[in-house]
Amino acid sequence: MDQRLETVLQDVDHINTINNQKRLLKEQYVEDCVLYYNGGKFTVTKELLGFTTQLGTSYITDDNLVPVEIDKDEFNRLISNVYWNATKKYHTAYQELIKNSRNIEELLNL
């Protein structure tokens, strides 16, 4: 291991480091949940997934309240893919973080 890193690791704020790593994973998750469709920008959430299954029309507003016309089947398929891929990736990274949280070197994946 890098000598400087070894020195730093003797003096790490453990709790803060765990919380910080969790926050970074969360931000990356939100980024991964974004879908651009027909000129609209959608952050895919559980609420959007539930809402679109009940949607009676082919029009929906995006994150900026801009109205967008959608092909419902295609849109549902796309947002489902985005959500499940992003959430699976987030879950894997989060579990890894929790599993390694006792040991700072493993926590930081060094």
Binding site: L5, N19, E31, K41, N109
Partner: protein, 286 residues
């Protein structure tokens, strides 16, 4: 329709931006699989110092900055060292005319690519994508100055990443940024910007405001998520297998340090001096 990534790399006495651009080109090839172009005034240096550059760089575009004198800015290597050097990254507006691509991703050389999220926007009809919101690598810090260009004026847009298509509107945008650079003193007075040094972020923020009719609209589109950055005062300790390990800078630290590792997230590394040192290690086997 072609798409690719464009870097501007103008070395100064302190920072080898060409080295950063080539390192980032390697990351672009891996994660985005797009052609890469570098705009520089030091083509000979690039070819002699990095003779293997064609593995990662498809176009080298010779172009000066159009200026002879440059203002100086602080360059930090963590919280304990800083020095001054010329800042030459002043002609980003040339991206419109110089880019060989129909859709161009303009990146700062120190904005390191670690995922393929920018591919999401390439097939969209919108002509400009940019970051507005950002967050830094530390949970406990609140770095001011990235929400508005000055205390009571315009929203801040990051020029660190721009994805644009060549349209009449983006042509006007880049032309306007050029005009703002030429008359920067006027615009910084008008918008009460305290920083004397020209900054691309300010110029694009002002130009977007003007093109939007001096109001806020849904143009330009915002890139996915927020832009992640590390402060110039954060130590970048190691790069290993695209894993970046930082010690968070904190002048008011009393005892423990905060360490952050990143994998899979694009990041703007503002500590250019540490980045340059570590890229040397990455290039040992090229």
């Amino acid at each position: 329709m072609t798409a690719g990534v464009l870097f501007f790399a103008y070395n100064n006495d302190l920072v080898d931006y060409i080295k950063q651009a080539i390192y980032n080109a390697k990351l672009v090839k891996k994660h985005l699989n797009l052609p890469v172009a570098i705009v520089t005034d030091s083509v000979n240096y690039l070819e002699k110092t990095y003779p293997w550059y064609k593995k990662y760089v498809d176009y080298v575009i010779p172009k000066g900055t159009g200026q002879n004198t440059f203002s100086k800015k602080h360059y930090y290597a963590g919280e304990h060292f800083s020095t001054m050097a010329e800042w030459k990254n002043v002609n980003r507006f040339d991206a419109y005319n110089l880019s060989p691509f129909d859709t161009t991703i303009v990146l700062d050389t120190d904005y390191l690519i670690s995922n393929d999220n920018f591919l999401k926007v390439l097939d969209q009809d919108d002509d400009l994508f940019i970051y507005k919101d950002s967050y830094d690598i530390s949970l406990t810090r609140n770095i001011p100055g990235f929400e508005r260009i000055s205390d009571d004026t315009l929203d801040f847009y990051w020029a660190t990443v721009l994805i644009f298509k060549k349209t009449e509107r983006t042509k006007r945008l880049f032309k306007l940024v050029e005009l703002i650079r030429e008359h920067y003193h006027y615009f910084r007075t008008l918008y009460r910007i305290p920083l004397k040094t020209f900054r691309n972020d300010f110029a694009f923020s002002i130009a977007i405001h003007i093109l939007n009719g001096y109001t806020i609209t849904d143009w330009p589109k915002i890139l996915p998520g927020k832009m992640l950055y590390s402060s110039p005062e954060d130590d970048l300790l190691t790069i290993k297998d695209e894993k970046y390990t930082f010690v968070v800078g904190n002048k008011f630290r009393r005892d423990k340090v905060n360490v952050v590792t990143l994998t899979g997230s694009n990041i703007h590394v503002m500590n250019k001096l540490h980045l340059n040192e570590l890229i040397d290690k990455e290039f040992e086997h090229e």
